[in-house]
């Protein structure tokens, strides 16, 4: 949107870049991209005030397809780069994107570190159980003993539980979506962006090229005699993961335990918001230490007229 243009609501197309997309036909990434763009449109976020970070892999290309400031970083390091950007400019909406290998494997340390800090951004993980861009090796979310058509042998290591890991790490918003339900996914991403603090949205995603186990048909339960979906929405079972009183330690433990318990359900798999709590963010803590930051972000501070004489004088 140009400076002089009359204010009119932003449309979905305003969040699309004109770059040719090179994902495989039918890739679950399309659903996630659509979900993100729908959420951004619903929130009317100015593309100039949007910073989208990603790791490496098929999911890593996502920012290129979004009209906004895009940062396609390194494999596993997306949260670190996004945190650096976020902390110095709190005027922006920050999204971080990555795959399951990126976030839960090579980036596991940063996944935990980010949870401990609770900086304000939404982290959307494209979880398709395989490393797609290197042709389908087992990702950290594939269970032991499973074998996709792209793998020569069954998975010899077990899969991790991202939701439980997020609970343990301190994420203050933990949700799961499904790539092929972009509208519902968008509704979760909207809440993740609105949430103040680190929000994880783990998105179950199909990889039609390499993952022949967890396909669209599998999620739909086409193979089941009763032809029912293998997914259910938490709110449909009256589940509410939101902590009402963040000072109530008992409630927190109970809600965390409930979230973890739900995260181990495998059939059907819950989607929706597992856990949410309003807690001070890293940025809040920083503003307390550096009062000037309560007025404007670091990037707008005048730091070029500092007087270091007192520090030198103290050394005499």
């Amino acid at each position: 949107m140009s400076i002089n243009a009359p204010a009119k609501p932003l449309a979905i197309k305003d969040y699309k870049s004109d770059l040719h997309n090179d994902w495989c036909p039918g890739c679950g990434d399309f659903g996630i991209l659509t979900g993100i763009q729908m959420a951004l449109q619903q929130l009317q976020i100015e593309p100039d005030k949007l910073a989208v970070y990603s790791g490496i892999g098929c999911s890593g290309k996502t920012p290129h397809y979004i009209n906004g400031y895009g940062f396609h970083t390194l494999h596993g390091r997306v949260l670190t780069v996004a945190t650096g950007g976020r902390l110095v400019n709190t005027d922006l909406t920050v999204l971080a994107l990555g795959g399951d290998g990126d976030g839960y494997g090579i980036g596991a340390g940063y996944f935990v570190g980010a949870g401990r800090r609770n900086a304000d951004f939404a982290y959307i993980v494209h979880n398709n159980n395989v490393y797609g861009l290197t042709k389908g090796q087992a990702s950290p979310t594939l269970s032991k003993g499973k074998k996709t058509k792209s793998m020569p042998e069954q998975a010899i290591q077990d899969g991790i539980n991202p939701v439980a890991m997020a609970v343990a790490s301190g994420y203050t918003f933990i949700a799961r979506g499904y790539a092929l339900e972009p509208k519902y996914l968008a509704s979760i991403i909207v809440k993740a962006i609105q949430h103040k603090g680190s929000a994880l949205v783990d998105v179950l995603q199909t990889c039609p090229t390499y993952n022949d186990l967890y396909t669209k048909e599998w999620y739909e339960g086409a193979d089941l005699p009763e032809k029912r979906s293998r997914l259910y929405k938490l709110e449909d079972k009256s589940y509410d993961g939101k902590v009402q009183d963040p000072t109530d330690a008992q409630e927190i433990v109970a809600k965390k335990a409930a979230a973890v318990a739900r995260s181990y359900e495998t059939d059907p798999i819950p989607i929706g918001i597992y856990y949410q709590i309003e807690l001070p963010t890293y940025e809040d803590a920083v503003s307390q230490r550096i009062p000037a930051l309560a007025e404007k972000p670091l990037v707008d501070q005048d730091v070029f007229h500092r007087d270091v004489t007192p520090l030198l004088e103290a050394m005499r």
Binding site: M1, D18, H20, K49, R77, V81, G113, Q301
Partner: protein, 646 residues
């Protein structure tokens, strides 16, 4: 007038407070107008292992340490006898062999040391009952029974006792002690002063203390100089340069800088983040720099080994930073965490995969550390690349007087910036299909002429190769960055022409930096032009080599010193010209292989065959440099130098 020239040494177990005593003494000397060069040697250990601190004091500027001390204060037996009695392979044999003829040894009479075993009849030994003195000082204020709690005051007792020998005015030291215990702790300060005084009087009773040969007098016209450590100077330079984001992961000997900065957060609107590892540190700093602030980090070899992918990432994305102060220590791997080595020059020059531009500069002393760390931020933004400032353990921890800390090149230069317009990538696309095509199709076969594109392109092919940078939040400055090869938009490309053009654009920036950085900051030839011998060195050996050159000159030896400072882009032509004109060349480095000598050969074609290397984890002493250079000057082959440990 008496010439002041003294080396004072204190040794004891880690955690016994030798640092505090040495630094109080150093400060008391500096405040009285004397020059100080103090350095510590310590183990990678919290409590118990041997450490020692040397304080060299002089009327004239001193920039190195001497092999031998005049006074030794020993808080434990190991300081005198070494650790051969409790280690299969002794680390050292004590410091008795490192005391000048007729020097003094003050030791705790409780440690069970018999001077007769020292085999140094020339030395004067002063057993002092450390605990008894502490108890006495406490009894005076009715706390005699608490003596064990105040055992840590032994260091002050040792310091007080030593003053009785060198005749340095007690009050000057007492004043510094008091200034370190303010407010509620003033009472403890007084106790320390009292204990020091009792020890002082105890030694004064000795007949032999009266004509002790090594004494020190305050200057008649005291001039309080800055007394600083290298890590403080790096940190203050970062503040001065407008750095507002520093990341780190704890590692010796780099951590001190970040902790120093952490203390300044409130006053200087600077954010310091302790990260989960160095990969996070570097990448957080990259994220912050791309967001438009001056960002920095600090680490040492093992941390740098983790950071390297972030350096390549910063470089290919033309990130305006970060500035990385790299404190070298003994390698490889964990190596010798608290010991000196100039072992990471080659690593810093080639830290990551592929060909990419970055700048590496190695300051030689604290003043250069101030300038270079400051300049690094300008270069980072001007040339949009990461900058490595190569420091080391010695430079970080040396505690020395500086006359004046000022910047010769003090302008802030933020480089080319895009400040906003009404063009956006979306709006401009329709109007300029032909132009954007090359940028967007990703295969590089479109037209490359983007001169008339009316939109902001982050990686536009500007004339000098530097595309004005934007940052998120700027109207019309939207763009993408990627660690993949990319087109002017910042989208991935694997196209042939685009790849070639982007590589040339990035690498070409090194030439710009080479041309713009003042020659004096790139290298410097110290000493006579027509020397018989030219020493080539870099980094923190500068002061030691310069001190040694003075002494060699007095011996009638004509030696000069080519200090290399800018390591990348390397001033190949100028350095090559100097070396080709030199009569004889010898390199002097604190590493095994002569890493600078290798760089010089690669860059200039000049082979430096004579290499004086030291890789025992200790810096060169002035004496070692003088001796090694004198031998080479007389025609001997250069040999490795090892600290004399007996």
């Amino acid at each position: 007038m008496q010439k002041n020239r003294l080396t004072w040494m204190i040794g004891g177990p880690q955690g016994s407070g030798i640092n505090a005593s040495a630094e109080v003494f150093a400060k008391a000397c500096s405040r009285a107008g004397l020059r100080v060069y103090a350095n510590i040697e310590y183990h990678s250990n919290i409590m118990g292992k041997h450490s020692f601190y040397r304080v060299r004091v002089d009327d004239e500027d001193v920039r190195s340490y001497k092999d031998k001390a005049d006074i030794l204060v020993a808080l434990d037996l190991e300081t005198l006898a070494g650790d051969g009695d409790h280690r299969r392979w002794a680390t050292h044999w004590g410091h008795l062999g490192e005391i000048n003829d007729g020097g003094g040894v003050i030791f705790d009479s409780e440690i069970g040391f018999d001077p007769a075993t020292a085999n140094r009849p020339d030395l004067r030994f002063y057993p002092v009952p450390f605990m008894e003195i502490i108890k006495k000082a406490l009894e005076e204020v009715g706390k005699g029974e608490q003596a064990r709690r105040y055992e840590v005051m032994k260091n002050t007792v040792g310091l007080g006792a030593s003053l009785a020998l060198c005749e340095y005015p007690f009050d000057l030291v007492a004043e510094v002690i008091r200034s370190q215990f303010k407010g509620k702790r003033a009472e403890i300060g007084e106790l320390n002063v009292r204990a020091a005084k009792l020890a002082f009087e105890h030694v004064k009773q000795h007949e032999s203390a009266k004509d002790f040969p090594y004494t020190l007098k305050p200057n008649r016209e005291p001039r309080a100089r800055i007394l600083a450590k290298g890590y403080e100077i790096h940190a203050i330079a970062k503040l001065k340069a407008g750095c507002s984001f520093q990341t780190y992961y704890p590692i010796s000997p780099a951590t001190d800088e970040s902790v120093f900065l952490e203390r300044q957060q409130r006053d200087y609107s600077l954010l310091v983040v302790q990260c989960e590892d160095e990969i996070s540190s570097i990448n957080m700093a990259v994220g912050a720099a791309h967001m438009g602030v001056r960002a920095a980090t600090a680490t040492s070899g093992p941390g740098f080994a983790l950071m390297v992918e972030g350096i390549g990432f910063a470089s290919i994305t033309e990130c305006p930073g970060p500035v990385l102060v790299m404190y070298q220590r003994g390698g490889p791997s964990t190596g010798m965490p608290t010991r000196q080595e100039q072992g990471d020059l080659q690593f810093s020059l080639h830290p990551a995969q592929g060909d990419f531009p970055h700048i590496v500069i190695a300051p030689g002393d604290l003043r250069e550390a101030y300038q270079d760390t400051f300049s690094a931020f300008n270069w980072a933004e001007r040339y949009q690349m990461p900058i490595i400032v190569l420091s080391d353990k010695k430079l970080a921890s040396v505690y020395t007087t500086i006359d004046k800390l000022e910047l010769k090149w003090d302008q802030i230069d933020r480089g080319e910036r895009f400040t906003g317009s009404e063009w956006t990538a979306v709006d401009a696309k329709g109007a300029n299909d032909a132009g954007t095509q090359a940028g967007h199709n990703g295969n590089g076969h479109g037209k490359m002429d983007l001169a008339n594109v009316k939109e902001y392109l982050r990686y536009a092919f500007a004339k000098d190769g530097i595309s004005p940078r934007s940052r998120p939040g700027i109207k019309g400055g939207r763009h993408w960055i990627t660690s993949d090869e990319h087109d002017p938009d910042g989208h991935i490309t694997e196209g042939v022409e685009m790849r070639v053009a982007m590589m040339e654009k990035r690498m070409g920036k090194l030439k710009l930096a080479q041309n713009a950085i003042p020659e004096e900051q790139q290298f410097f030839l110290h000493g006579p032009k027509d020397a018989e011998l030219t020493v080539v060195g870099w980094g923190s050996t500068k002061g030691t080599i310069l001190d040694a050159l003075k002494l060699l000159e007095a011996q009638g030896k004509k030696v000069n010193f080519l200090q290399c400072r800018l390591m990348r882009p390397f001033p190949a032509k100028a350095v090559g010209d100097i070396l080709r004109g030199a009569k004889r060349i010898v390199s002097m480095e604190e590493n095994y292989s002569g890493q600078l000598a290798q760089v010089v050969q690669e860059q200039t074609g000049v082979m430096i065959g004579e290499r004086i290397n030291k890789f025992d984890g200790r810096p060169f002493s002035e004496d070692e440099v003088v001796n090694a250079l004198a031998k080479v000057y007389e025609g001997a082959k250069a040999e490795p130098v090892v600290t004399h440990v007996h």
